[in-house]
Amino acid sequence: MAAVQETIDRVKGIDVDQYRYGFETQIESEKAPKGLSEDTIRFISAKKNEPAWMLEWRLEAYRRWLTMTEPTWARVGYPKIDYQDLYYYSAPKPKKKVASLDEIDPEILKTYEKLGIPLREVELLEGVERPSAAVESEDGEAAAPRTKIAVDAVFDSVSVATTFKEELKKAGVIFMPISEALREHPDLVQKYLGTVVPTTDNYFATLNSAVFSDGSFVYIPPGVRCPMELSTYFRINERNTGQFERTLIIADKGAYVSYLEGCTAPQRDENQLHAAVVELVALDDAEIKYSTVQNWYPGNSEGVGGIYNFVTKRGDCRGANSKISWTQVETGSAITWKYPSCILRGDNSSGEFYSIAISNGFQQVDSGTKMIHLGKNTSSRIISKGIAAGKSQNTYRGLVSAHRKASGARNFTACDSLLIGDQCGAHTVPYIEAKNSSAVFEHEATTSKISEDVLFYCIQRGLSQEEAVGLVVNGFVKDVLQQLPMEFAVEAQKLISISLEGSVG
């Protein structure tokens, strides 16, 4: 048993103290007074020059939230959150309106640089062409041509740079901070906001509806294929700031868009709350691909600090033949509570959920998806890969349901869990409800321990223990990594190795 013991000891040593993104940017910020009240909400709304209906919408959500209680069904434990001890709005003090990258606070730009996520437009504007990344071309998949990415960067609560606006504008695509969209396209926002995740949906989504500060808004007009990948990088900087983004993406009839979201947060002892809402609407024949790489600060090796991530993400396949696909790589946060879901309302619509969730140290992950089959001949596919190390707990929680009228509904679910060491836990909680007898739902689940013999085989060939674990885990999650856009896949691959890195050797 010593062989196993050695790995356990090593994994014990693996901790999350060396969080790569733990640095703080010194910039002046403008905060709302601490605590939550109708006044806080009025402050936020006024700051953003919102239309009156928006303030009413927020206040209604707030009043509703006061009557709700925090959910406890998830397999996560944390001390009670004091909602009055948080700041709900924090904006870098604007010097002036930013029109291009040079006008952005260099401190902020530096932050992005440290993240290893430069605002890629810089290179593109200067005509710098990197050779395409050396991705795994060796297993026969052709490396995708280098794609353009438009970035909407959210620094704490305000979007500081929206790039590629012009080119997108030509295509008729609207991609801007939601606060701006509320002023420039109020009708569009009003028509769709809250139609997928209503203000009454759940405790955290309702809170978000009341206090959301910013986020992205995307509208792709009928028949338009968005000419580039759209991307937002979130970063939580301010101390004690809850971050409440609100993202709304609409693909009109026959439109297509691929959206990437990446997140990091600096290292902090106190826990930071994050409660975002993402709503996707796909009309007839439209397709939305939404990818997330989340590497927020997971807390230190004693389990102190880290982000509490309570997120509501939902896509509505509202039109016939529409398609929504969620891909997520979750490696960060002390607590993850997240279930990107699809409502398959349109006939022949389809939903997909591809997930990699890695937990280490004292991280707690409770994540999964809901596929709600309402229309006829709808189909869904769920591929979930959970990796638990250290003393972490990793739960897949999923619901697949077919409505009475959802004839011909099909689902395939595969949940695989990999355990590293014997102090962590992996749990699979699938709920299946078929109210229509023609539904065909398949569910497969496996749980296995990382094999000592396989690790030794790799190490005998010269890999370090960490490299061996990274390689084996990357193989384990391959099916999901393949779903990510190429540039993201390379980043995600590195991130997976980093998040399992320990103090070995």
Binding site: A3, E138, E452, V454, R461, G462, K478
Partner: protein
């Protein structure tokens, strides 16, 4: 002659379990090929694991030197970077990791450990393809996940490929002939012979004379009950084929 590998009075047991290696002495000089033959369960694979540094074994006595350096003090990956290569009796499968990806990771990890420059992917791919060709390994196979669904013979050929790529100084081949058909046996033996050099030493563990017809050893050892009970030239293997191990097993017991 300079000693590549020196094993002196080695005793090893499974942690918290049985004693397997019981007083082993063996010196492999540079340029030599040693064959080790012996009955099932004698501890041959265990010896190969102990040399390679697999966790789970306790060294209770003895010393092992590689080029004069204390091998037992090194971690398993250090040993690999120093040139210890073990062709596994049962090669392992790594789902989702393309064979080429694995080869690149191993090759560059060893280079990095030795402070050498990594090889670019195109150069590495070229090198691998050339070796693969000599071993009749289809380049399609290099894209498949390592050893997953490979036939027994394909796995063994793949071990030979890895060995040829990594150019180790000490090759330990544990029953590399098992599972090979006659033609594949020749191909693999040719691959191994191509690695014969004045700088390299090999330990070839096998049950059959057949392999030794192609890879002709300098020295043959009979290994029984955890130690070497007889040493001879290439003809000792032929003798064993006729007599079997019965005499040695009673001797050792």
């Amino acid at each position: 002659m300079t000693a590549l590998l020196e094993i002196k009075g080695l005793h090893a047991e499974i942690s918290g379990g049985r004693k397997i290696i019981q007083g082993l002495d063996l010196t492999v000089n540079k340029g030599e090929i040693h064959a080790i033959m012996g009955p099932n369960g004698a501890g041959k694979s265990t010896l190969s694991y102990v040399l390679a540094g697999k966790p789970g074994y306790e060294i209770t006595a003895g010393e092992v030197y590689l080029n004069g350096e204390d091998l037992l003090a090194m971690s398993a990956d250090e040993r690999a970077a120093k040139g210890v290569f073990l062709a596994f009796q049962y090669p392992l499968e790594i789902p989702g990791v393309a064979t080429l990806t694995f080869l690149r990771a191993a090759f560059n990890a060893q280079r990095k450990a030795r402070g050498e420059e990594e090889l670019s992917s195109p150069d590495l791919i070229k090198r691998v393809r050339e070796i693969a060709k000599t071993l009749n390994i289809d380049s399609e196979m290099l894209k498949r996940p390592l050893n997953v669904g490979f036939s027994g013979g394909e796995k063994k050929r793949n071990e030979t490929l890895q060995m040829a790529l990594l150019q180790p100084s000490l090759c330990v081949l544990d029953e590399t002939d098992s599972g090979l058909d006659i033609d594949a046996l020749k191909v693999v033996a040719n691959g191994v012979n191509a690695l014969r050099s004045a700088e390299r030493g090999m330990i070839v563990i096998t049950h059959y004379q057949r392999l030794l017809d192609y890879i002709v050893p300098d020295i043959v050892h009979v290994f029984a009950a955890g130690r070497i009970v007889r040493t001879g030239g290439a003809d000792l293997a032929r003798e064993l084929e006729a007599t079997g191990y019965a005499q040695y097993q009673s001797e050792a017991a």
